[in-house]
């Protein structure tokens, strides 16, 4: 009954280990590579944020030049979306979904490896830009056009150097990797479920990855198309966005947001999956309203394709155009609200255990609620005419991405780290991580709404005194210290627990889905025998033979 906490045996050479990881097509190893890669870039984008917050803590600061600042915010946003959020969600999905559906690997293991290496290479290409040109101290020739790279700022006339090219090419590569990854996930979920696992018995995380995959297919592709058009303009003299030839700048803006809005749903939907797995286990109750959760998620996926121009309320669409997008954007809030109520109802009447994964989920619920409410303010076009492109928007989307997505990712780490590493993360350090990060998050992003309301635009490297912005910016900058502390505690926790944490065993949380039916970490083949399942919670059925789920579903 020996438990092997470490997945590697001691006899392998260092070179052999490296080759094993570089050449692997195993979904668990690829998942871990995605996750480690994302954490590396999370730290890098955090450093970019720290530098920017130092610059913005005071009016008329000269800590950073405008050129460096503009490169930093472009890299920060681009990195966050494409080289932190997407890969980390792919990482968890790749690792967990085959285990959860009782499969041995993803549908296309070698394509899986291809996806990872395309994404990885894209990130390295983007960051090569920091070292080119004038060198790292000036942030090289990193792209400086904002993460949405509006035309005509990206035209050869206004961006004569290669900065924009790094942006275009690295994202093109990463996009190909994402599309392949999405096709892989869809085929896995539709084709590799174990016997008895109908779609209505699948864990919600698997459902969310399915919806995410479908959304990626129609979301990343418009960006790929727009980037190909930009390349035609920049490299071979095309006129897609060339105003002098009659081209339309607004067309870029439409195409970008046709990608950009569903993309944020691509990011949040798997996080809904994490919360939907963790909240029931730590409330000791089945997920309330499983069919509604599925329907709401699919509905969100579809409606999210029709809301993009709420990023364009200031661009000058006619009034009926603006009104249409107000309506669709508010409509998408309905299924999102339904999900929050279902999670609440899951907790209601339960026996809530406040382990670290659950703490982060409760933080998620609170912050996602607020982010949704500030989102509705932005959906109200006239209100948006004031708030767009201001720090209110920056506060809103960081509320979603950090307060929502990152909190749920932390929850996922604490919940599934034992399965992946064979040892649990230290609970005391976890609580320290949670509270420090919570304080830091709220200091930075709650107060960030205020400068927006007081007229501070985004993407400015400095600001005048006397606008009433200094105090709030200073508070936001101070919050960074606590967030950094939280992250350092988290990283330390992971390293220490990996080396000498308490062995986890198969099922440390007393959970109900199939990944907990195998060892921690799982063997290469996942499960010795492909199981047959009769309900949504196969392990509940085993642990409660007198009261199995399949009697009630």
């Amino acid at each position: 009954m020996a438990t092997h906490a470490l997945p590697l045996s001691a006899e392998k050479t260092a070179l052999g280990t490296i080759y094993e990881w570089i050449g692997t097509a195993d979904h668990k190893k690829i998942g871990l590579m995605y996750i480690v890669y994302s954490l590396l870039f999370l730290v890098i984008m955090g450093i970019e944020a720290i530098l920017m917050r130092i610059q913005l803590a005071h009016a008329n600061s000269t800590f950073l030049s405008p050129q460096v600042f503009n490169r930093l915010f472009t890299m920060h946003g681009t990195t966050g979306v494409f080289f932190v959020a997407m890969p980390i969600l792919f990482g968890f999905g790749n690792y967990l979904v085959p285990l959860m559906i009782g499969a041995r690997d993803m549908a296309f293991p070698r394509l899986n490896a291809f996806s990872f290496w395309m994404t990885a290479f894209g990130g390295f290409l983007l960051y090569a830009s920091f070292f080119a040109g004038v060198g790292l101290s000036q942030a090289g020739i990193a792209p400086d056009v904002g993460w949405f790279a509006y035309a005509p700022l990206t035209s050869p006339v206004f961006s004569p150097g290669h900065n924009t090219d790094y942006w275009t090419l690295s994202l093109l590569l990463a996009g190909v990797g994402s599309i392949a990854g999405a096709a892989n996930m869809i085929a896995t979920v539709l084709c590799l479920r174990c016997p008895g696992m109908t779609l209505s018995r699948m864990p919600l995380l698997a459902w969310m990855n399915l919806v995410m995959g479908g959304l990626i297919l129609v979301t990343i592709s418009p960006l790929t198309a727009a980037q190909l058009m930009l390349m035609v303009d920049r490299y071979i003299g095309g006129h897609f966005f060339d105003v002098a030839a009659g081209g339309s700048v607004v067309m870029w803006i439409h195409f970008f947001w046709i990608f950009g809005h569903p993309e944020v749903y691509v990011l949040i939907i798997p996080c809904f999956g994490f919360v939907s797995e963790i909240v029931p286990v730590f409330s000791r109750k089945a997920m309330f309203g499983y069919p509604a959760m599925v329907a709401a998620s699919v509905g969100i996926g579809f409606v999210s394709l029709g809301v993009w121009a709420h990023h364009m309320f200031t661009v000058g669409m006619p009034s009926y155009g603006n009104a249409f997008f107000v309506l669709t954007t508010m409509v998408v809030a309905v299924p999102t609200g339904i999900k929050i109520f279902n999670w609440l109802a899951t907790m209601w009447g339960g026996k809530i255990r406040f382990a670290t994964p659950m703490m982060f989920c409760i933080g998620f619920l609170f912050q996602f609620l607020i982010a949704g409410l500030s989102g509705i303010m932005l959906a109200t076009a006239p209100f948006d005419w004031q708030l767009a492109n201001s720090y209110f928007v920056v506060a809103h989307f960081h509320y979603v991405i950090v307060g929502g997505i990152l909190f749920s990712i932390f929850a996922a780490f604490y919940y599934w780290f034992p399965k992946m590493a064979g040892r649990t993360l230290d609970e005391t350090l976890g609580q320290w991580h949670f509270w420090m990060f919570l304080i830091g998050f709220h200091l930075t992003f709650d107060f960030m709404h205020i400068p927006g309301v007081l007229g501070m635009p985004r993407r400015i490297y400095t600001y005048e005194a006397g606008r009433g912005w200094e105090t709030w910016n200073l508070i936001s900058s101070i919050g960074v210290v606590f967030q950094v502390a939280g992250i350092l505690i988290f990283v330390f926790n992971m390293i220490r627990s990996y080396a000498k944490g308490v062995p986890a065993g198969n099922d440390p949380w007393d959970a109900w889905t199939l990944e907990w039916a195998t060892t921690s970490p799982p063997p290469d083949y996942n499960l010795a025998r492909i199981p047959e399942v009769l309900s949504r919670r196969p392990l509940w059925d085993i642990k409660h033979p007198e009261d199995p789920d399949w009697r009630y579903e």
Partner: protein, 198 residues
């Protein structure tokens, strides 16, 4: 906190799920459709908006022959795969190679048309909005046809070496799905560029 894997024995022989090759190809087709949709939207939006230079009406000749070749290649592709499903490998290889030939004629015809436009008439991707959108859209499609031809070539080589049997018919069917998609895109591109836009 058990360390023994807890599983339920499986005895379900009737559990069938879709083929992953087909699901994967459908996913790819959906993504590619989205890319083409964006290029077609740009093409349609820019119809009549060129400030200078030749218009489609002045300069485009309708590629009837190459279109017939490409569209009939879908038929020959279908016959090829059907033959392989029945184990008729020689019928399969004949139709497969015919499909390749028809696709190659399409590419050759496109190349000729472009040579005439670029070299004889000086009409390039830089000329005006029409030039940019035309070469981009038709070129995007042609690159997809070319990728298909490469796949057809590889499979054709295996076929000529006698390696393909009935059990490979599903994989050929997956390639056939891609080929039909490329033909369907041509129907749309042809309509937009040579009929509506002209």
């Amino acid at each position: 906190m058990s360390t023994h894997p807890a599983v339920i024995e499986s005895n379900a022989a009737s559990w069938t799920l879709p083929s992953r090759g087909k699901v994967g190809m459908v996913s790819l087709i959906i993504a590619e459709s989205a890319i083409f949709t964006i290029f077609i939207a740009a093409y349609i939006f820019y119809i009549g908006k060129s400030i200078s230079g030749p218009s489609p009406h002045e300069i485009l000749r309708i590629p009837i022959m190459t279109t017939i070749c490409l569209l009939s290649s879908s038929l020959t592709m279908h016959w090829a795969v059907t033959a392989l499903e029945k184990g008729q490998t020689s019928v399969f290889i004949s139709f497969w190679l015919l499909t390749f030939a028809l696709g190659a004629i399409f590419i050759g015809g496109t190349a000729r048309e472009w040579h005439h436009l670029i070299v004889d008439q000086g009409f390039t991707i830089q000329t005006n909005l029409f030039g940019t959108t035309y070469y981009s859209l038709v070129g995007l499609h042609a690159s997809h046809v070319t990728a298909g031809l490469i796949a057809l070539f590889i499979v054709g080589a295996f076929g000529l070496a006698g390696k393909l049997k009935r059990e490979h018919s599903e994989r050929c069917e997956v390639i056939a799905m891609y080929w039909h998609f490329v033909d369907a895109v041509w129907v749309v591109v042809f309509t937009v560029v040579y009929i509506i836009g002209r």
